[in-house]
């Protein structure tokens, strides 16, 4: 069995840790990780629950291929009801933590209730203990990891934790593992903080021994690794440039949201790109990028390890930031940079380091700063209200606002609530570039039409990782479609969403999908897991997961009105570039999408659909 068949239920209110068998029926219907954890959440949590109340639950889950030699087999997912969106929240992370959970013998950990005092969970194989974390409260994720490893005299422990952002109620706080990998979006770290759960520290020495057919598994995973190695994106582009390979490409397309989506091209995109990260600096003659790095089991290695310029104003006399650490990914570079019109690569890296350190999502944070800068620009917010001048393009403002948000100081508290609440508070809700309260990532849907539908219908709010039609519309994967038209996009979005849900539930990384389709995942699952795992079954699992998430959101009170885009994207045409004159055609795509999904005109799955999916 690629599943360990064991889950750990941790009642934080009572202080108990109780093992129980995995529900194998659900594993067979929802595979693992995202799907399986979401199934448990929807079965156990009232969709109308206050996300930050003890009645919400937080689930960390591996997939059947987590902790195996399948390439990228190190992923885990954090699932809960999200405080930023009020929708299901489901954030996926790499690093080494997920595999360690599996090696300790657990498919999943379910956290319930709220601890009266700060605690961390220590797991050493079967041994599970809640330990006092009062000395860690108020500490960063970096200090937390180091302190726990030192206390246990065990440098091989893997740790997921929250930083100050998760403690202070920043609504887009992350759960950070292995210093700079994160279950980043939708505020899963905020929920963890609300439970007084500071960290999960795991040491697993059992390994994964339950692969159905090891010989076949090694053969097929080896063949699939070869496909990744030979593919231009996964074999060359991502290891060399990281996701940042996209910065100049997307800018050229006129789809790089700039200054809170006022513009679709950033005049200084080249200054915050992958190429800029590799360029030797004037100050020390070294590039910001030190090397690439892999997560557990990953043969792509897209991760960035970077060193900030020690002479940059943000880190003068702050040697704790001078070492090599997680570098800018495309989304972070965009959100901290283009979204605010900031072109200072070192300032972006400082804000990025802060996000990792205190545990907050750089996408939502950066985009919220973009909204604040627009409110400042049009005179809705004053220097006195913000506490500083915050014009578009100000690296000084970005740095200061990152510190204020991280520490919950002054106006930083308002930034910590995200752009929807910020813009509503100041009477300009239309300026919030969000769906379901979650900030957009780095693709403007006027220049990449399919992404507008993907954002509007994403079950966790605006997100690029729920249906990445960019692959098709920009990169031609698996087939090239025209990014400027809506033709065929509803079917494309549905296909990407369903396949992604299955990818995410396997324990593998969605970035493999630049080179693999679900048909490449299928034989790996088949070799690892008992039963008949056909491609058709996996597609059905993906669609089932999507509809289950949707049902949770509907029961939580979300409606068709939440499957929407801000008016800027549907009424203000792109000013320049290939998409000049275009708005997003969501109104035409959405009805067709609902129909393709077997949903009624209000976006509610009909009886036949639910029956077909076994829901």
């Amino acid at each position: 069995m690629a599943w360990t068949r064991n889950i750990l239920r941790v009642n934080l209110t009572e202080g108990t840790c109780t093992p129980e068998p995995l529900n194998m029926q659900w594993a067979n219907d929802y595979l693992g990780s995202r799907g399986l954890a979401s199934k448990y959440l929807t079965e156990e949590v009232d969709p109308k629950v206050d996300p930050l109340s003890p009645d919400n639950k937080l689930i960390m889950s591996t997939g059947p291929l987590t902790g195996t030699m399948a390439s990228t087999g190190g992923r885990y997912t954090v699932v809960t009801k999200g405080p930023l969106t009020g929708a299901i929240a489901c954030s996926n992370s790499g690093g080494y933590f997920g595999a360690e959970m599996k090696f300790a013998g657990w498919d999943m950990i379910i956290f319930e209730g709220r601890s009266p005092e700060p605690v961390y969970l220590y797991l050493e194989n079967d041994k599970a203990e809640l330990r006092d974390a009062s000395h860690l409260w108020g500490k960063s994720t970096w200090v937390t990891e180091e302190t726990i490893k030192t206390a246990h005299q065990d440098p091989q422990i893997r740790i997921s934790s929250i930083g100050q952002a998760g403690e202070n109620g920043v609504l887009y706080a992350c759960v950070v593992n292995d210093l700079h990998r994160a279950a980043g979006r939708s505020g899963v770290g905020t929920v963890m903080g609300s439970k007084n759960l500071k960290a999960v520290a795991i040491r697993g020495t059992k390994g994964v021994s339950g692969i159905r057919d090891f010989k076949e598994f090694l053969k097929v995973t080896s063949e699939k690794k070869q496909i990744l190695a030979e593919n231009a994106v996964t074999g060359q582009g991502l290891p060399t440039y990281g996701t940042q390979v996209l910065m100049n490409v997307i800018n050229e397309m006129g789809a790089l949201p700039t200054r809170n989506h006022r513009d679709v091209q950033f005049e200084d995109a080249n200054k915050i790109s992958a190429e800029a990260m590799a360029e030797p600096r004037a100050s020390d003659g070294k590039p910001q990028l030190v090397t690439n790095a892999a997560c557990f089991g990953c043969t792509i290695a897209c991760g960035r390890i970077a060193k900030i310029d020690e002479t940059h104003f943000s880190v003068v006399n702050k040697p704790e930031y001078w070492g090599a650490s997680g570098g800018l990914e495309y989304e972070a570079a965009w959100a901290l940079g283009a979204a605010n019109g900031v072109n200072d690569l070192e300032a972006l890296q400082y804000a990025n380091l802060l996000c990792n350190e205190v545990g907050m999502d750089p996408i939502s944070f950066g985009a919220t700063v973009g909204a604040a800068m627009e409110l400042y620009d049009i005179g809705v917010l004053s220097k006195e209200q913000i506490g500083l001048d915050a014009p578009f393009g100000s690296a000084e403002a970005l740095v200061k606002l990152a510190e204020m948000t991280a520490n919950g100081e002054g106006f930083g508290k308002e930034l910590g609530e995200g752009s929807k609440r910020l813009c509503s508070k100041y009477g300009r809700p239309e300026l919030s570039m969000t769906v379901k309260g979650q900030e957009f990532p780095a693709y403007d849907s006027r220049g990449i039409q399919g992404m507008g539908l993907a954002y509007a219908t994403s079950n966790r709010g605006a997100c690029h990782l729920r249906g990445y039609t960019v692959a098709s519309e920009v990169l031609g994967i698996p087939v090239k479609t025209d990014p400027l038209t809506i033709d065929g996009k509803p079917a494309l979005v549905k296909a990407f969403q369903d396949a992604t849900a299955a990818f995410d539930s396997s324990g593998l990384c969605i970035f493999t999908s630049f080179a693999w389709t679900l048909a490449d995942i299928q034989p790996q699952i088949q070799a690892a897991c008992e039963g008949d795992w056909s491609l058709e079954r996996l597609e059905l699992v993906g669609e089932r997961i999507w509809n289950m998430e949707k049902q949770f959101n509907l029961a939580a009170g979300l409606t068709k009105a939440d499957d929407n885009l801000p008016p800027r994207l549907t009424t203000e045409p792109a000013k320049v570039g290939p998409a000049k004159g275009l708005v997003n055609g969501l109104d035409k795509m959405l009805p067709e999408y609902y129909e393709l999904r077997g949903w009624d005109g209000e976006g509610v799955p009909n009886g036949a659909t639910l029956e077909r999916l076994g829901l």
């Binding site: 902790g67 195996t68 030699m69 390439s71 080494y96 595999a99 090696f103 091989q156 210093l179 697993g204 020495t205 059992k206 390994g207 994964v208 021994s209 692969i211 090891f214 090694l218 690794k225 190695a229 290891p239 030190v290 090397t291 690439n292 790095a293 892999a294 997560c295 557990f296 089991g297 990953c298 043969t299 290695a301 390890i305 060193k307 070492g323 090599a324 650490s325």
Partner: protein
């Protein structure tokens, strides 16, 4: 011809495929905690370094063992632990200056790299050629070649 593991840390991404391959070969499970090769992450320098036994000619572990449980495999040059003989006294773990032979509480024996009988699994698994298996007499060949390539380069 004997061969040696040749490790180029610059190429290592920290994916741990080598640790999984090693543990699978020796224990039948994907279990980095039982791997005989370990990847060290010097986080703040951005360096990752795989490290394992160098198969010393005059092996400290072999000479220290009071029950002769560690023997030379003349074909591969590996110093191999015979578990049936090992009594788990751990003297070898103290003797080894490099720390590459270690006690395993689950088995009550020590373990170290045995070069997988001449076909090291870590080498096959490494996706970046950070770990290769080369002529033991010529582990410096690649670097010699790199320097040689610079000779007369002005003439090109």
């Amino acid at each position: 011809m004997q061969k040696s593991l040749y490790i180029d840390p610059v190429k290592c991404t920290g994916c741990l495929q080598c640790e999984m391959a090693c543990s699978y070969t020796h224990t039948g499970a994907f279990n980095p905690s039982k791997s005989r090769i370990k990847v060290f992450d010097f986080e703040h320098e951005g360096r990752k370094v795989p490290y394992t036994c160098t198969q010393c000619s005059e092996a400290w572990c072999l000479h220290a063992c009071p029950v002769d449980a560690i023997k030379l495999d003349a074909r591969t040059g590996a110093k191999v632990v015979f578990e049936d003989t090992c009594v788990g006294c751990k003297v070898c773990t103290i003797a080894c200056p490099f720390g590459t032979i270690n006690y395993v509480a689950d088995t009550g024996k020590v373990q170290k790299c045995d070069l997988c009988d001449g076909d090291p699994a870590c080498v096959t698994a490494c996706p970046t050629d950070a770990i290769t298996y080369v002529d033991a007499d010529w582990s410096g060949l690649g670097r010699m070649r790199a320097w040689a390539a610079r000779a007369n380069s002005a003439a090109i």
